[in-house]
Protein backbone atom coordinates (compact mmCIF):
# COMPACT_ATOMS: atom_id res chain seq x y z
CA UNK A 1 0.00 0.00 0.00
CA UNK A 2 2.83 2.30 0.95
CA UNK A 3 4.69 1.58 -2.27
CA UNK A 4 1.54 2.17 -4.27
CA UNK A 5 1.04 5.56 -2.68
CA UNK A 6 4.67 6.45 -3.35
CA UNK A 7 4.34 5.42 -6.96
CA UNK A 8 1.23 7.57 -7.33
CA UNK A 9 2.95 10.57 -5.78
CA UNK A 10 5.96 10.25 -8.06
CA UNK A 11 3.69 9.89 -11.06
CA UNK A 12 1.68 12.93 -9.98
CA UNK A 13 4.79 15.02 -9.49
CA UNK A 14 6.20 13.96 -12.82
CA UNK A 15 2.95 14.67 -14.62
CA UNK A 16 2.68 17.99 -12.86
CA UNK A 17 6.05 19.15 -14.00
CA UNK A 18 5.75 17.77 -17.51
CA UNK A 19 2.13 18.78 -17.92
CA UNK A 20 2.82 22.40 -17.16
CA UNK A 21 5.47 22.00 -19.78
CA UNK A 22 6.96 24.57 -22.01
CA UNK A 23 5.30 23.48 -25.20
CA UNK A 24 2.20 25.55 -24.65
CA UNK A 25 2.76 28.72 -26.66
CA UNK A 26 0.81 31.62 -25.22
CA UNK A 27 0.01 30.58 -21.67
CA UNK A 28 1.53 33.79 -20.45
CA UNK A 29 3.09 32.35 -17.28
CA UNK A 30 6.10 34.33 -16.21
CA UNK A 31 9.42 32.61 -15.87
CA UNK A 32 12.83 34.18 -15.62
CA UNK A 33 14.29 36.82 -13.37
CA UNK A 34 13.26 39.72 -15.52
CA UNK A 35 9.60 38.78 -15.95
CA UNK A 36 10.00 37.86 -19.57
CA UNK A 37 7.13 35.97 -21.05
CA UNK A 38 7.39 32.40 -22.11
CA UNK A 39 9.12 32.32 -25.47
CA UNK A 40 7.06 32.09 -28.58
CA UNK A 41 8.73 30.79 -31.65
CA UNK A 42 9.75 34.04 -33.25
CA UNK A 43 10.61 36.61 -30.60
CA UNK A 44 13.57 35.11 -28.75
CA UNK A 45 15.88 37.75 -30.18
CA UNK A 46 13.53 40.53 -29.10
CA UNK A 47 13.41 39.03 -25.65
CA UNK A 48 17.20 38.99 -25.46
CA UNK A 49 17.46 42.54 -26.68
CA UNK A 50 14.87 43.72 -24.20
CA UNK A 51 16.74 42.00 -21.41
CA UNK A 52 20.02 43.49 -22.56
CA UNK A 53 21.79 40.22 -21.91
CA UNK A 54 22.59 37.02 -23.79
CA UNK A 55 22.77 34.10 -21.38
CA UNK A 56 25.05 31.39 -22.72
CA UNK A 57 25.29 27.96 -21.16
CA UNK A 58 28.85 26.71 -21.02
CA UNK A 59 30.77 23.93 -19.32
CA UNK A 60 34.23 25.26 -18.54
CA UNK A 61 36.07 21.97 -18.41
CA UNK A 62 36.83 21.44 -22.09
CA UNK A 63 39.82 23.35 -23.37
CA UNK A 64 40.43 24.74 -25.92
CA UNK A 65 36.72 25.29 -26.44
CA UNK A 66 36.36 26.63 -22.91
CA UNK A 67 38.26 26.45 -19.67
CA UNK A 68 39.03 28.54 -16.63
CA UNK A 69 42.09 30.70 -16.59
CA UNK A 70 43.49 32.57 -13.65
CA UNK A 71 44.85 35.92 -14.75
CA UNK A 72 46.11 38.21 -12.04
CA UNK A 73 44.21 36.35 -9.36
CA UNK A 74 40.98 36.69 -11.28
CA UNK A 75 39.12 33.67 -12.62
CA UNK A 76 37.79 33.93 -16.17
CA UNK A 77 36.33 31.46 -18.59
CA UNK A 78 38.17 31.62 -21.88
CA UNK A 79 38.19 29.70 -25.13
CA UNK A 80 36.98 29.61 -28.69
CA UNK A 81 33.37 29.29 -27.59
CA UNK A 82 33.66 32.35 -25.35
CA UNK A 83 34.98 34.49 -28.20
CA UNK A 84 32.26 33.16 -30.46
CA UNK A 85 29.59 33.88 -27.86
CA UNK A 86 30.96 37.38 -27.43
CA UNK A 87 30.68 37.98 -31.15
CA UNK A 88 27.02 36.97 -31.08
CA UNK A 89 26.31 39.18 -28.08
CA UNK A 90 28.01 42.09 -29.82
CA UNK A 91 25.86 41.54 -32.89
CA UNK A 92 22.72 41.65 -30.76
CA UNK A 93 24.01 44.70 -28.95
CA UNK A 94 23.73 43.11 -25.52
CA UNK A 95 25.99 42.00 -22.69
CA UNK A 96 27.33 38.48 -22.56
CA UNK A 97 26.51 36.40 -19.49
CA UNK A 98 28.04 32.98 -19.09
CA UNK A 99 26.08 30.45 -17.05
CA UNK A 100 28.55 27.75 -16.10
CA UNK A 101 27.45 24.26 -15.21
CA UNK A 102 28.54 20.71 -15.79
CA UNK A 103 27.98 19.38 -19.30
CA UNK A 104 25.04 17.17 -18.42
CA UNK A 105 23.16 20.11 -17.00
CA UNK A 106 23.21 22.16 -20.19
CA UNK A 107 20.30 20.81 -22.21
CA UNK A 108 17.86 20.71 -19.27
CA UNK A 109 18.78 24.31 -18.56
CA UNK A 110 18.13 25.27 -22.14
CA UNK A 111 14.75 23.64 -22.14
CA UNK A 112 13.64 25.35 -18.98
CA UNK A 113 14.67 28.78 -20.21
CA UNK A 114 17.45 29.28 -17.75
CA UNK A 115 19.82 29.93 -20.68
CA UNK A 116 19.28 31.22 -24.23
CA UNK A 117 21.83 29.12 -26.05
CA UNK A 118 24.47 26.44 -25.47
CA UNK A 119 27.89 27.09 -26.92
CA UNK A 120 30.05 24.46 -25.33
CA UNK A 121 31.87 22.35 -27.86
CA UNK A 122 28.67 20.40 -28.29
CA UNK A 123 28.45 18.17 -31.34
CA UNK A 124 25.33 18.44 -33.46
CA UNK A 125 24.47 14.78 -33.10
CA UNK A 126 21.26 13.31 -34.45
CA UNK A 127 20.23 12.30 -30.93
CA UNK A 128 20.53 15.82 -29.60
CA UNK A 129 18.80 17.27 -32.65
CA UNK A 130 15.69 15.46 -31.46
CA UNK A 131 15.37 17.81 -28.50
CA UNK A 132 17.11 21.03 -29.53
CA UNK A 133 17.72 23.08 -32.67
CA UNK A 134 21.30 23.56 -33.84
CA UNK A 135 22.98 26.41 -35.67
CA UNK A 136 25.37 25.81 -38.54
CA UNK A 137 28.46 23.95 -37.51
CA UNK A 138 31.02 26.46 -36.32
CA UNK A 139 33.93 24.10 -36.08
CA UNK A 140 34.59 20.67 -37.37
CA UNK A 141 37.69 18.60 -37.51
CA UNK A 142 38.62 15.07 -36.94
CA UNK A 143 38.64 12.96 -33.84
CA UNK A 144 42.05 11.86 -32.72
CA UNK A 145 43.03 8.97 -30.52
CA UNK A 146 45.23 9.82 -27.56
CA UNK A 147 47.68 7.08 -26.66
CA UNK A 148 50.60 6.59 -24.31
CA UNK A 149 53.79 7.37 -26.20
CA UNK A 150 55.30 4.18 -27.49
CA UNK A 151 52.05 2.27 -27.77
CA UNK A 152 51.73 0.52 -31.10
CA UNK A 153 48.36 1.66 -32.33
CA UNK A 154 48.16 3.12 -35.82
CA UNK A 155 45.03 1.72 -37.39
CA UNK A 156 41.61 0.51 -36.40
CA UNK A 157 42.79 -3.11 -36.57
CA UNK A 158 45.27 -2.44 -33.77
CA UNK A 159 42.31 -1.64 -31.55
CA UNK A 160 40.83 -5.13 -31.57
CA UNK A 161 40.68 -6.42 -28.03
CA UNK A 162 41.74 -3.09 -26.60
CA UNK A 163 39.92 -0.54 -24.43
CA UNK A 164 39.01 2.97 -25.51
CA UNK A 165 38.03 5.72 -23.08
CA UNK A 166 35.53 8.41 -24.07
CA UNK A 167 33.44 11.14 -22.53
CA UNK A 168 29.92 10.05 -21.75
CA UNK A 169 27.23 11.22 -24.12
CA UNK A 170 29.56 12.48 -26.84
CA UNK A 171 29.83 11.83 -30.54
CA UNK A 172 33.20 10.25 -29.85
CA UNK A 173 31.48 7.70 -27.66
CA UNK A 174 29.43 6.54 -30.63
CA UNK A 175 32.39 6.61 -32.97
CA UNK A 176 34.51 4.55 -30.62
CA UNK A 177 31.90 1.83 -30.59
CA UNK A 178 32.50 1.31 -34.31
CA UNK A 179 36.03 0.17 -33.61
CA UNK A 180 35.18 -3.16 -32.08
CA UNK A 181 37.23 -2.30 -29.03
CA UNK A 182 35.71 -2.16 -25.55
CA UNK A 183 34.43 1.35 -24.86
CA UNK A 184 34.61 2.89 -21.37
CA UNK A 185 32.58 6.05 -20.83
CA UNK A 186 33.45 8.54 -18.10
CA UNK A 187 32.21 11.94 -17.08
CA UNK A 188 35.06 14.13 -18.28
CA UNK A 189 37.75 13.95 -20.88
CA UNK A 190 40.24 14.58 -18.09
CA UNK A 191 38.97 11.45 -16.35
CA UNK A 192 39.44 9.43 -19.52
CA UNK A 193 43.00 10.70 -19.82
CA UNK A 194 43.66 9.68 -16.23
CA UNK A 195 42.50 6.20 -17.15
CA UNK A 196 44.90 6.27 -20.07
CA UNK A 197 47.82 7.31 -17.91
CA UNK A 198 47.01 4.56 -15.44
CA UNK A 199 46.89 1.89 -18.12
CA UNK A 200 43.21 1.28 -17.57
CA UNK A 201 42.45 2.09 -21.19
CA UNK A 202 44.67 1.94 -24.24
CA UNK A 203 43.39 5.01 -26.05
CA UNK A 204 41.10 7.99 -25.59
CA UNK A 205 39.02 9.18 -28.51
CA UNK A 206 38.43 12.91 -28.42
CA UNK A 207 37.89 15.94 -30.55
CA UNK A 208 41.09 16.57 -32.51
CA UNK A 209 41.82 20.05 -31.15
CA UNK A 210 41.28 18.80 -27.62
CA UNK A 211 43.71 15.94 -28.23
CA UNK A 212 46.34 18.33 -29.50
CA UNK A 213 46.16 20.39 -26.32
CA UNK A 214 46.74 17.29 -24.27
CA UNK A 215 49.78 16.23 -26.25
CA UNK A 216 51.21 19.73 -25.98
CA UNK A 217 50.80 19.70 -22.22
CA UNK A 218 51.83 16.14 -21.57
CA UNK A 219 55.06 14.64 -22.82
CA UNK A 220 53.90 11.11 -22.23
CA UNK A 221 51.01 11.32 -24.65
CA UNK A 222 50.79 11.10 -28.40
CA UNK A 223 47.86 11.31 -30.80
CA UNK A 224 47.01 9.33 -33.90
CA UNK A 225 44.35 9.62 -36.55
CA UNK A 226 42.14 6.63 -37.12
CA UNK A 227 40.14 7.43 -40.21
CA UNK A 228 37.27 5.08 -39.45
CA UNK A 229 36.61 6.88 -36.18
CA UNK A 230 37.26 10.41 -37.29
CA UNK A 231 33.76 11.85 -37.55
CA UNK A 232 33.43 14.46 -34.85
CA UNK A 233 29.95 15.55 -35.81
CA UNK A 234 30.98 19.18 -35.85
CA UNK A 235 30.38 21.63 -33.02
CA UNK A 236 27.33 23.82 -33.18
CA UNK A 237 25.37 26.16 -30.96
CA UNK A 238 22.16 24.71 -29.52
CA UNK A 239 18.98 26.69 -28.96
CA UNK A 240 15.59 25.73 -27.64
CA UNK A 241 13.30 24.12 -30.14
CA UNK A 242 11.62 26.71 -32.28
CA UNK A 243 13.91 29.68 -31.64
CA UNK A 244 14.61 30.04 -35.34
CA UNK A 245 15.28 33.77 -35.12
CA UNK A 246 18.18 33.19 -32.77
CA UNK A 247 19.59 30.44 -35.01
CA UNK A 248 19.52 32.86 -37.90
CA UNK A 249 21.46 35.47 -35.96
CA UNK A 250 24.08 32.93 -34.95
CA UNK A 251 24.49 31.68 -38.50
CA UNK A 252 24.80 35.23 -39.77
CA UNK A 253 27.45 36.01 -37.18
CA UNK A 254 29.39 32.89 -38.15
CA UNK A 255 29.29 33.80 -41.80
CA UNK A 256 30.38 37.32 -40.99
CA UNK A 257 33.31 36.07 -38.94
CA UNK A 258 34.42 33.83 -41.76
CA UNK A 259 34.08 36.49 -44.39
CA UNK A 260 36.02 39.04 -42.41
CA UNK A 261 38.91 36.73 -41.56
CA UNK A 262 38.10 36.95 -37.84
CA UNK A 263 37.18 33.30 -37.81
CA UNK A 264 40.60 32.27 -39.04
CA UNK A 265 42.23 34.36 -36.35
CA UNK A 266 40.07 32.80 -33.64
CA UNK A 267 40.71 29.30 -34.93
CA UNK A 268 44.45 29.85 -35.00
CA UNK A 269 44.41 31.38 -31.57
CA UNK A 270 42.60 28.52 -29.94
CA UNK A 271 43.00 25.50 -32.19
CA UNK A 272 46.41 26.17 -33.64
CA UNK A 273 49.02 23.96 -32.07
Amino acid sequence: MKKMMTFLMVALLALGTIGCGSDKPASGTKIGNNSTERSNTTNKVDEIKKRGELVVGISGDYPPYESHKMTGGEDKIVGFDVDFAQAIADELGVKLKLNETSFNGLIPMLQSNKIDVIISGMSASGERAKSVDFSDIYHSGENRLLIRKGTKIASVDDLKGKKIGVQLGTVQENEAKKSGAEVKSVNLVTDAVMELMNNKVDGVLVDGVVADKFTTNNKDLAAVNISELSDDGGSAAAVKRGNEDLVKVINDVLKGLKDSGEYKKMANKWFGV
Binding site: M5, T17, I31, G32, D75, S102, K114, K213
Partner: protein, 221 residues
Protein backbone atom coordinates in the same frame (compact mmCIF):
# COMPACT_ATOMS: atom_id res chain seq x y z
CA UNK B 1 53.92 9.38 -10.68
CA UNK B 2 55.42 12.82 -10.26
CA UNK B 3 53.34 15.50 -8.67
CA UNK B 4 53.83 19.13 -9.45
CA UNK B 5 51.66 21.38 -7.35
CA UNK B 6 53.12 24.51 -8.82
CA UNK B 7 51.06 24.00 -11.92
CA UNK B 8 47.85 24.29 -9.98
CA UNK B 9 48.80 26.82 -7.32
CA UNK B 10 47.48 29.76 -9.33
CA UNK B 11 44.01 28.20 -9.21
CA UNK B 12 43.78 28.06 -5.44
CA UNK B 13 41.18 30.85 -5.35
CA UNK B 14 38.85 28.48 -7.17
CA UNK B 15 39.37 25.94 -4.41
CA UNK B 16 38.46 28.53 -1.84
CA UNK B 17 35.33 29.41 -3.79
CA UNK B 18 34.41 25.74 -4.06
CA UNK B 19 35.04 25.07 -0.37
CA UNK B 20 32.85 27.96 0.69
CA UNK B 21 30.07 26.81 -1.61
CA UNK B 22 30.24 23.22 -0.40
CA UNK B 23 30.28 24.31 3.24
CA UNK B 24 27.37 26.67 2.81
CA UNK B 25 25.34 24.04 1.01
CA UNK B 26 26.08 21.34 3.54
CA UNK B 27 25.57 23.43 6.67
CA UNK B 28 22.31 25.01 5.56
CA UNK B 29 21.00 21.70 4.31
CA UNK B 30 21.87 19.78 7.46
CA UNK B 31 20.26 22.42 9.65
CA UNK B 32 17.13 22.64 7.56
CA UNK B 33 17.17 18.90 7.06
CA UNK B 34 17.21 18.35 10.81
CA UNK B 35 14.15 20.56 11.14
CA UNK B 36 12.34 18.65 8.37
CA UNK B 37 13.47 15.39 9.92
CA UNK B 38 12.25 16.33 13.36
CA UNK B 39 8.84 17.36 12.09
CA UNK B 40 8.58 14.21 10.03
CA UNK B 41 9.57 12.04 12.99
CA UNK B 42 6.82 13.66 15.03
CA UNK B 43 4.36 13.03 12.22
CA UNK B 44 5.39 9.41 12.01
CA UNK B 45 4.84 8.91 15.72
CA UNK B 46 1.58 10.83 15.81
CA UNK B 47 -1.76 9.39 16.80
CA UNK B 48 -3.34 10.74 13.65
CA UNK B 49 -3.31 8.34 10.74
CA UNK B 50 -3.09 11.15 8.16
CA UNK B 51 0.06 12.62 9.68
CA UNK B 52 1.65 9.20 9.95
CA UNK B 53 0.83 8.53 6.29
CA UNK B 54 2.26 11.87 5.16
CA UNK B 55 5.44 11.24 7.06
CA UNK B 56 5.84 7.76 5.65
CA UNK B 57 5.18 8.81 2.06
CA UNK B 58 7.73 11.59 2.30
CA UNK B 59 10.42 9.26 3.63
CA UNK B 60 9.65 6.52 1.11
CA UNK B 61 9.63 8.96 -1.81
CA UNK B 62 12.96 10.49 -0.93
CA UNK B 63 14.70 7.25 -0.11
CA UNK B 64 13.33 5.62 -3.22
CA UNK B 65 14.56 8.19 -5.74
CA UNK B 66 18.07 9.41 -6.57
CA UNK B 67 19.20 12.76 -5.26
CA UNK B 68 19.93 13.89 -8.79
CA UNK B 69 16.33 13.35 -9.80
CA UNK B 70 15.11 15.25 -6.75
CA UNK B 71 17.49 18.07 -7.62
CA UNK B 72 16.16 18.25 -11.15
CA UNK B 73 12.58 18.25 -9.96
CA UNK B 74 13.22 21.15 -7.61
CA UNK B 75 15.32 23.16 -10.03
CA UNK B 76 13.35 22.56 -13.23
CA UNK B 77 9.99 21.16 -12.27
CA UNK B 78 9.03 23.35 -9.35
CA UNK B 79 9.37 26.66 -11.22
CA UNK B 80 6.97 25.34 -13.82
CA UNK B 81 4.45 24.53 -11.11
CA UNK B 82 4.67 27.84 -9.34
CA UNK B 83 5.34 29.94 -12.44
CA UNK B 84 8.40 31.60 -10.95
CA UNK B 85 12.05 30.77 -11.46
CA UNK B 86 14.11 29.30 -8.65
CA UNK B 87 17.82 30.19 -8.78
CA UNK B 88 20.53 27.58 -8.26
CA UNK B 89 21.46 28.19 -4.65
CA UNK B 90 17.98 28.07 -3.12
CA UNK B 91 17.11 25.15 -5.36
CA UNK B 92 20.19 23.26 -4.25
CA UNK B 93 19.51 23.93 -0.58
CA UNK B 94 15.85 23.03 -0.94
CA UNK B 95 16.60 19.74 -2.66
CA UNK B 96 19.48 18.79 -0.36
CA UNK B 97 17.65 19.63 2.84
CA UNK B 98 14.48 17.94 1.69
CA UNK B 99 16.56 14.90 0.91
CA UNK B 100 18.43 15.03 4.18
CA UNK B 101 15.20 15.42 6.12
CA UNK B 102 13.98 11.98 5.18
CA UNK B 103 17.14 10.33 6.43
CA UNK B 104 17.24 12.47 9.55
CA UNK B 105 13.66 11.43 10.30
CA UNK B 106 14.74 7.83 10.35
CA UNK B 107 17.74 8.67 12.50
CA UNK B 108 15.50 10.44 14.98
CA UNK B 109 12.95 7.66 15.03
CA UNK B 110 15.64 5.06 15.63
CA UNK B 111 17.21 7.21 18.33
CA UNK B 112 13.93 7.56 20.15
CA UNK B 113 13.09 3.90 19.89
CA UNK B 114 16.50 3.03 21.28
CA UNK B 115 15.62 4.71 24.55
CA UNK B 116 14.61 2.08 27.09
CA UNK B 117 10.83 1.72 27.33
CA UNK B 118 11.20 1.67 31.10
CA UNK B 119 11.98 5.37 30.99
CA UNK B 120 8.64 6.17 29.41
CA UNK B 121 6.87 3.81 31.77
CA UNK B 122 8.42 5.40 34.82
CA UNK B 123 7.45 8.84 33.60
CA UNK B 124 3.88 7.76 32.88
CA UNK B 125 3.63 6.05 36.25
CA UNK B 126 4.32 9.39 37.89
CA UNK B 127 1.31 10.87 36.12
CA UNK B 128 3.22 12.53 33.29
CA UNK B 129 1.51 12.72 29.94
CA UNK B 130 3.08 11.18 26.86
CA UNK B 131 4.11 14.65 25.71
CA UNK B 132 5.76 15.61 28.98
CA UNK B 133 7.55 12.29 29.14
CA UNK B 134 8.91 12.77 25.63
CA UNK B 135 9.99 16.30 26.31
CA UNK B 136 11.78 15.84 29.60
CA UNK B 137 12.93 12.25 29.57
CA UNK B 138 12.86 10.43 26.24
CA UNK B 139 13.98 13.03 23.75
CA UNK B 140 16.93 14.31 25.80
CA UNK B 141 18.16 10.74 25.96
CA UNK B 142 17.38 10.11 22.33
CA UNK B 143 19.56 13.03 21.35
CA UNK B 144 22.59 11.19 22.66
CA UNK B 145 21.76 8.34 20.32
CA UNK B 146 20.96 10.63 17.43
CA UNK B 147 24.05 12.78 17.44
CA UNK B 148 26.56 10.26 16.05
CA UNK B 149 24.19 9.24 13.31
CA UNK B 150 23.53 12.88 12.51
CA UNK B 151 27.24 13.39 12.17
CA UNK B 152 27.34 10.63 9.58
CA UNK B 153 24.52 12.33 7.75
CA UNK B 154 26.54 15.54 7.60
CA UNK B 155 29.48 13.69 6.08
CA UNK B 156 27.19 11.97 3.57
CA UNK B 157 25.65 15.27 2.63
CA UNK B 158 29.08 16.84 2.25
CA UNK B 159 29.99 14.27 -0.34
CA UNK B 160 26.60 14.19 -2.04
CA UNK B 161 26.60 17.95 -2.42
CA UNK B 162 28.86 17.43 -5.43
CA UNK B 163 25.71 16.53 -7.37
CA UNK B 164 24.76 20.18 -7.57
CA UNK B 165 27.27 20.86 -10.32
CA UNK B 166 24.54 20.05 -12.80
CA UNK B 167 22.59 23.13 -11.79
CA UNK B 168 25.40 25.67 -12.07
CA UNK B 169 26.60 25.38 -8.49
CA UNK B 170 30.37 25.51 -8.45
CA UNK B 171 31.01 23.24 -5.50
CA UNK B 172 34.41 21.93 -4.48
CA UNK B 173 34.31 18.81 -6.65
CA UNK B 174 33.38 20.84 -9.71
CA UNK B 175 36.29 23.19 -9.07
CA UNK B 176 38.60 20.19 -9.02
CA UNK B 177 37.36 19.18 -12.47
CA UNK B 178 37.70 22.73 -13.76
CA UNK B 179 41.26 23.00 -12.50
CA UNK B 180 42.17 19.62 -13.90
CA UNK B 181 40.89 20.65 -17.31
CA UNK B 182 42.56 24.03 -17.24
CA UNK B 183 45.97 22.77 -16.18
CA UNK B 184 46.00 19.36 -17.80
CA UNK B 185 46.96 17.82 -14.50
CA UNK B 186 45.69 14.53 -13.27
CA UNK B 187 46.15 14.17 -9.53
CA UNK B 188 47.20 17.41 -7.96
CA UNK B 189 43.78 19.06 -7.84
CA UNK B 190 42.18 15.82 -6.68
CA UNK B 191 44.65 15.47 -3.84
CA UNK B 192 44.11 19.06 -2.79
CA UNK B 193 40.38 18.59 -2.83
CA UNK B 194 40.54 15.31 -0.95
CA UNK B 195 42.56 17.06 1.73
CA UNK B 196 40.02 19.83 1.99
CA UNK B 197 37.11 17.41 2.31
CA UNK B 198 39.07 15.54 4.93
CA UNK B 199 39.78 18.67 6.94
CA UNK B 200 36.12 19.65 6.81
CA UNK B 201 34.92 16.28 8.02
CA UNK B 202 37.61 16.15 10.71
CA UNK B 203 36.67 19.53 12.10
CA UNK B 204 33.07 18.55 12.12
CA UNK B 205 33.81 15.22 13.81
CA UNK B 206 35.74 17.00 16.54
CA UNK B 207 32.89 19.41 17.14
CA UNK B 208 30.52 16.49 17.29
CA UNK B 209 32.68 14.66 19.81
CA UNK B 210 32.84 17.78 21.99
CA UNK B 211 29.10 18.07 21.90
CA UNK B 212 28.65 14.41 22.75
CA UNK B 213 31.01 14.74 25.65
CA UNK B 214 29.10 17.65 27.07
CA UNK B 215 25.85 15.72 26.80
CA UNK B 216 27.35 12.67 28.46
CA UNK B 217 28.06 14.61 31.63
CA UNK B 218 25.97 12.31 33.76
CA UNK B 219 27.02 8.96 32.35
CA UNK B 220 29.71 6.65 33.63
CA UNK B 221 32.38 5.63 31.14
Amino acid sequence: MSLDFSRVSAYSPLLVKGTVTTLELTLFSVLLGTVFGFITALFKMSRFKLLRALGNIYVELIRGTPLLVQLYIVYYGLPQLIGHDIPSFPAAIAALSFNSGAYVAEIIRAGIEAVDTGQMEAARSLGMSHGLAMRFVVIPQAIKNILPALGNEFVSLLKESATVSVISMGDLMRQADIIRAATYTAFEPLIEVALIYFVMTSIFSSLQRMLERRLKVGDTH
